[in-house]
C-alpha cells in the first residue's frame, strides 16, 4: 500500500504552458485585456488644469448620474439605433424569408446583391444620403422643381429622422445576412410536416418558422444595433446638432474637449447600456432545441411549385429594398461625372474633370499610399495571426478555449467609438505614437478576429476523420497539415484577407482616433467633407466603391472556383 502516494492532481488543475499557446495569451493580454482595463481604470481618474490626475475618484460617474443631459442623450442614442435596427429588420427579415425559402434559382446572386453595400465604405453610404437629403440635395431640388415646395427645405437633413433613416439603411444588410442562414437551414420536411399536421400557412409561420428564426433575427438586430450605436460619424454628418449622440460626445472628449477620464466613463456607460439592450434582445428570442441532423436539407420549395401571391409580394419587396440600397450609391456615381458643383438635377454635361483633379492632389495621393501600406500590413498581420490562432484554438486543448475565443473577438462586438478609445489607451501606454503603427494595431484588433473566426468555422466543419485518414495513409503530422488541412482552409483564409482589405481601406471610426497627422484615404476624405465640399469627393468614393466591388468579385470568383474543384 502506498500510504503516502502523492495525491493525483486532476489534469485540469495542472499548470502547463504549451509553447504555441504563448502568442494567443500575449495577444489576448496586449490587444484586448490591458487596453480594456485601462479604459475602466481611466474612467476613475479626473482632469485638473488640462492634465490627468492619478487619484481614483467616482467623480465622473457621479457627474453622469446627476446629469439630466446625459440621460437624455443616452436615451436618444439608443432610440436612434433601436429604431434604425427595427426599421432595418422590417425590411430585411421578410426579404431574407423570400430569398431563403421562396427563391430557387440565382439565390447566391440575390444574396450578394444585398451584401455588397457592406463592403462599400460606410462614409460613402452616409455621404450619399447627404446628397439626397441636403438643402441642395436631390430630394429638395426635385420637390422645388415639381412645385411642391417653394424653397428648399432644411427639414430633411440634420434631423433625428435622417439619422434613423441612415441607420436603417446601414442595418439592412446585417440583419439580412444573419437571418438568411436561419431561413435556409430549416428543413423543407419540417414545413411539410406542419402542413401535413393541419397547420395553415400563418400557423406554420407562427409555430415553426418564427421560433426557428427569431434567434438569428435577434443576433442580426443586435449586430446592426452595435454597429450604429458606436457610430459617431453618421450622426454628425446627417444629424447635425439634432443628431448628436453619446458616440459624438465621447469622441469629442478625446478630441476638442480633451477630457479622457470623462470620455472613458461615458464609454463604460454606453457599454453597459448596449449590453442591456443586446441582452434583452437575445433573451426575448431564445433558441430552443437543435436540428438533429437527420432532417433532409432544405431545397427551397419543391420543384414545380408555381409562383404564388407570396412570391410576387416577395419579389416586389426585394426589388424595392435593393433599389433603396443602391439608389444613393448610383446617384453619387452619376454626380461624379456631372459638370457642376451643385449636387442637383438636371444633370449638366458629362465630365471627367473631378477625376482629373484627383490625380493632381498630392494630399489625396499621399493618403491613398498610406491606406495601401496600412491595408497590406493589417491584412498580413491579421491573416497570419488569425489563421495560426484558429489552428491553435482548434487543435491544441487550451484551457477555457471557448472563453479565450470570445475574448479575442471582443473588439468586434464593441461599439467602434469605444474600440477607438480603447486602442488609443492601449497604444499610448506602451508608447506607440499616433500614426501608421497605431492604425495597424488598432485595425488588426478587429480584423484579426474576423479571419480567425472564418478559419475556425471552416476547421470545425471539416470532417475530423480526414486528418485521421491522412495519418492512417502514412503522412506525418506536418505532411497532413500541408496536404490536407491547409488546402481546405485556404479559401477561408483568403476570404478573410479580402474582407480585411476592404474593411481596412474603409475604416473611419477607429482610425480617426489613431491616425494623428497621418491620414488614411477615408480620413482624408472625411476631413475634406468637413472643411468644404468639392464634387471630387464623389469621384474618390466612386473609385473606392469600384475597388471594394472588384475585391468582392475576385473573392467570389476564387471561392466559386474552389467550390468547383
Amino acid at each position: 500500500m502506498a500510504l503516502f502516494a502523492t495525491p493525483a492532481v486532476p489534469a485540469r488543475f495542472r499548470f502547463r504552458i504549451d509553447l504555441p499557446q504563448v502568442p494567443v495569451y500575449a495577444w489576448l493580454a496586449l490587444v484586448v485585456l490591458i487596453p480594456n482595463l485601462l479604459l475602466i481604470g481611466t474612467s476613475f481618474l479626473s482632469v485638473a488644469e488640462g492634465r490627468i490626475k492619478f487619484e481614483p475618484t467616482l467623480g465622473n460617474y457621479v457627474r453622469l448620474w446627476h446629469s439630466a443631459g446625459f440621460w437624455r442623450l443616452l436615451w436618444k442614442t439608443l432610440q436612434f439605433s433601436l429604431l434604425g435596427a427595427f426599421l432595418g429588420a422590417l425590411a430585411a427579415y421578410p426579404m431574407a424569408c423570400f430569398v431563403g425559402r421562396a427563391v430557387r434559382n440565382n439565390r447566391s446572386i440575390l444574396t450578394v446583391l444585398v451584401l455588397v453595400p457592406l463592403w462599400i465604405s460606410l462614409l460613402m453610404r452616409v455621404f450619399s444620403w447627404r446628397l439626397i437629403l441636403g438643402q441642395n440635395g436631390v430630394l429638395n431640388s426635385s420637390l422645388v422643381s415639381s412645385g411642391i415646395l417653394d424653397t428648399p427645405s432644411s427639414a430633411f437633413l440634420y434631423t433625428g429622422s435622417s439619422v434613423v433613416l441612415t441607420f436603417a439603411y446601414i442595418s439592412i444588410p446585417f440583419i439580412f445576412v444573419s437571418t438568411l442562414n436561419a431561413f435556409e437551414k430549416i428543413p423543407q420536411s419540417l414545413i411539410e410536416a406542419s402542413q401535413d399536421l393541419g397547420a395553415t400557412t400563418v400557423q406554420t409561420f407562427c409555430h415553426v418558422i418564427w421560433p426557428l428564426t427569431r434567434r438569428s433575427l435577434a443576433i442580426g438586430f443586435s449586430l446592426a444595433f452595435l454597429v450604429t450605436v458606436g457610430d459617431y460619424v453618421t450622426p454628425s454628418m446627417v444629424g447635425g446638432i439634432n443628431g448628436t449622440t453619446l458616440g459624438v460626445l465621447i469622441s469629442s472628449q478625446f478630441g476638442i474637449a480633451s477630457n479622457w477620464p470623462f470620455g472613458a466613463a461615458l464609454s463604460i456607460a454606453l457599454i453597459v447600456a448596449v449590453s442591456v439592450v443586446v441582452g434583452v434582445a437575445l433573451w426575448s428570442c431564445p433558441q430552443r432545441g437543435v436540428f438533429s441532423g437527420d432532417e433532409t436539407p432544405s431545397g427551397g420549395p419543391p420543384p414545380g411549385a408555381r409562383p404564388r401571391l407570396g412570391f410576387i409580394g416577395g419579389s416586389i419587396l426585394y426589388g424595392v429594398v435593393v433599389a433603396f440600397l443602391y439608389a444613393p450609391l448610383l446617384l453619387m456615381v452619376v454626380f461624379s461625372f456631372n459638370d457642376s458643383t451643385l449636387q442637383a438635377f438636371p444633370l449638366q454635361r458629362l465630365t471627367f474633370k473631378w477625376y482629373a483633379e484627383l490625380a493632381g492632389n498630392s494630399g489625396l495621393i499621399a493618403a491613398a499610399q498610406r491606406s495601401l501600406v496600412v491595408a497590406v500590413c493589417v491584412v498580413l498581420v491579421s491573416s497570419i495571426v488569425g489563421t495560426s490562432f484558429a489552428l491553435i484554438l482548434h487543435y491544441r486543448n487550451l484551457l477555457y478555449s471557448r472563453a479565450i475565443e470570445l475574448l479575442l473577438t471582443l473588439p468586434l462586438a464593441m461599439p467602434s467609438v469605444v474600440l477607438g478609445i480603447v486602442m488609443v489607451l492601449g497604444t499610448e501606454i506602451v508608447g506607440v505614437p499616433p500614426g501608421l503603427a497605431r492604425i495597424v494595431i488598432g485595425q488588426a484588433s478587429f480584423i484579426m478576429p474576423i479571419t480567425m473566426l472564418l478559419v475556425l468555422t471552416r476547421l470545425r466543419r471539416l470532417d475530423p476523420s480526414l486528418l485521421e485518414a491522412s495519418l492512417d495513409l502514412g503522412a506525418s503530422r506536418l505532411q497532413s497539415f500541408v496536404h490536407v488541412v491547409l488546402p481546405l482552409i485556404r479559401g477561408a483564409a483568403i476570404g478573410g484577407m479580402l474582407l480585411g482589405v476592404t474593411l481596412s481601406a474603409d475604416e473611419v471610426m477607429v482610425t480617426l482616433f489613431l491616425a494623428g497627422p497621418s491620414q488614411t484615404l477615408p480620413i482624408w476624405v472625411f476631413n475634406q467633407m468637413r472643411f468644404g465640399f468639392t464634387p471630387s469627393v464623389n469621384a474618390v468614393f466612386t473609385l473606392l466603391g469600384l475597388f471594394a466591388l472588384s475585391t468582392v468579385l475576385i473573392g467570389q470568383f476564387i471561392s466559386r472556383r474552389r467550390a468547383i474543384d
Binding site: A193, S194, D196, A199, T200, R288, P303
Partner: protein, 359 residues
C-alpha cells in the same frame, strides 16, 4: 366510382406526374385503392416513383393528370393541411424547438383544441408508443428509435383516416427495425387506421402488409397479397425483387405431348411447359437444395462448386457455380459447418411452383 367512395379510404385514378425538366414520367397513370383499416405497402427500388405517390397523396405534389379521391371526395387540389391524413416522414421531421409532448400536441393545437384536452390526448398517443415518460424532452436528446416513435404518436394523435409512412424504419438498426415492425402492426390493428407504407425492403413489405403494390419506373408492376407476389410473381422483375429468386435460363423441348424444361443441360421432368423454346424460370433461394457431390438419388441434379458462403444468422446463403450458371441457395444455419467454399456439390431444384417467363 360510387363504390370507391364507400368502402375505400383512398383511391388514385390514373395519376400521372412528370417533374419539370424531366422527360420521363415519374408516375405513369397509376390507379389503386386502399381499403379502410388496410395495411397497404408500396414496394420498389429507388426512383421507381413510390415516394412520388406518397407525396401526391399527402398533397405535396400536384399530379399532372388523374385524381386523388378520399372518403370525403376529390382531394386532388386540396392543400396538405386540409386532407384527413398524416405522414410519418423518413427524417421524422420533429420540430426541434418543441418538446416531444408539444410536437404531439401540434396538430391538435392547429385545429384549436384547448390545452387541457390536447395535453390529455397527447399523453394517450405517447402512451401507445411507450413514450410518455419522455414527453418533456426536446427531440435532439432522444435516440433514433425514440424519435421514430414520437413521430408516430404525433401522426396518430388526431386519429386520421389514413397514415402515410415514408420508409420510416430506414434509419434504424436491425434490432430496432424488427421491434418497430411489431409496434407498427399492432398499432395499426389497434387504431384501425389505414396505413400506406413506402419501403424498398421487400421483407418488411411482405411481413407486415395486407396488400403490396410493387412499383417499377413509375408504373405498377404488380398489386396483390404478399403470398401472391411471393408465389405467383407476374414478371421477372417482381420475382427477382420480391422473392430472392435465381433467374435461370430454361429450354423447353417437346416430350410426350407437352413440353419439358431443362436447365444447364439437365432435364427436370416436373417442369412442364405449354410452349417450346427458351424461357427463364424464377427459383427462389429456399427452393434450392444442396447435397454432397457423391450422393446421387437418380433425380435431376446439377453439379456445381461452392464459391461463397454467407452466414445470415437463422440461415446461410450459398453462392454456387455450375458451368455458366450462378445459383444462390438458402439453407438452415445448422448446416453451415458442412458447406465450405471450393466444395463440389450436387444441386437439386424444387420447380413445382416455380414461375416461368417466356422470352
Amino acid at each position: 366510382m360510387q363504390q370507391a367512395v364507400g368502402s375505400y379510404v383512398l383511391s388514385l385514378e390514373n395519376v400521372a406526374k412528370t417533374y419539370p425538366g424531366n422527360t420521363k414520367r415519374a408516375l405513369d397513370r397509376v390507379s389503386f385503392e386502399v381499403a379502410a383499416g388496410e395495411f397497404f405497402s408500396i414496394l420498389g427500388p429507388s426512383g421507381s416513383g413510390k415516394t412520388t405517390i406518397l407525396r401526391t397523396i399527402a398533397g405535396f405534389e400536384k399530379p399532372d393528370e388523374g385524381r386523388v379521391v378520399m372518403a370525403g371526395g376529390d382531394v386532388t387540389h386540396l392543400p396538405p393541411n386540409r386532407r384527413d391524413l398524416r405522414t410519418v416522414f423518413q427524417s421524422y421531421a420533429l420540430f426541434p424547438h418543441l418538446t416531444i409532448g408539444e410536437n404531439v400536441q401540434y396538430p391538435l393545437r392547429m385545429s384549436g383544441m384547448g390545452k387541457l384536452e390536447r395535453t390529455r390526448k397527447a399523453a394517450e398517443a405517447l402512451e401507445l408508443v411507450a413514450m410518455e415518460p419522455l414527453a418533456g424532452r426536446l427531440p435532439h436528446l432522444l435516440s433514433g428509435g425514440q424519435r421514430q416513435r414520437a413521430a408516430l404518436a404525433r401522426a396518430v394523435v388526431s386519429r386520421p383516416q389514413l397514415l402515410l409512412l415514408d420508409e420510416p424504419l430506414g434509419a434504424l438498426d436491425l434490432r430496432l427495425r424488427q421491434q418497430m415492425q411489431h409496434t407498427l402492426v399492432s398499432l395499426q390493428k389497434e387504431l384501425g387506421i389505414a396505413f400506406v407504407y413506402v419501403t424498398h425492403d421487400q421483407g418488411e413489405a411482405l411481413s407486415m402488409s395486407d396488400r403490396v403494390l410493387v412499383m417499377r419506373e413509375g408504373r405498377i408492376a404488380q398489386l396483390g397479397r404478399p403470398q401472391d407476389l411471393y408465389f405467383k410473381p407476374r414478371s421477372e422483375f417482381v420475382a427477382e425483387f420480391v422473392g430472392n429468386s435465381n433467374m435461370l435460363p430454361v429450354e423447353f423441348t417437346a416430350d410426350h405431348g407437352s413440353y419439358v424444361g431443362s436447365i444447364g443441360g439437365v432435364t427436370f421432368p416436373e417442369m412442364r411447359g405449354d410452349k417450346s423454346g427458351k424461357a427463364r424460370v424464377a427459383v427462389r433461394y429456399d427452393n434450392v437444395h444442396i447435397y454432397p457431390a457423391k450422393e446421387n438419388s437418380g433425380t435431376s441434379r446439377l453439379s456445381g462448386i461452392v464459391e461463397n458462403v454467407l452466414f445470415l444468422g437463422t440461415n446461410i446463403e450459398v453462392d454456387m457455380r455450375c458451368g455458366d450458371l450462378r445459383i444462390m441457395g438458402s439453407l438452415p444455419a445448422g448446416r453451415a459447418d458442412s458447406i465450405v467454399a471450393g466444395q463440389a456439390v450436387s444441386i437439386g431444384l424444387d420447380l413445382a411452383d416455380a414461375s416461368v417467363f417466356h422470352v
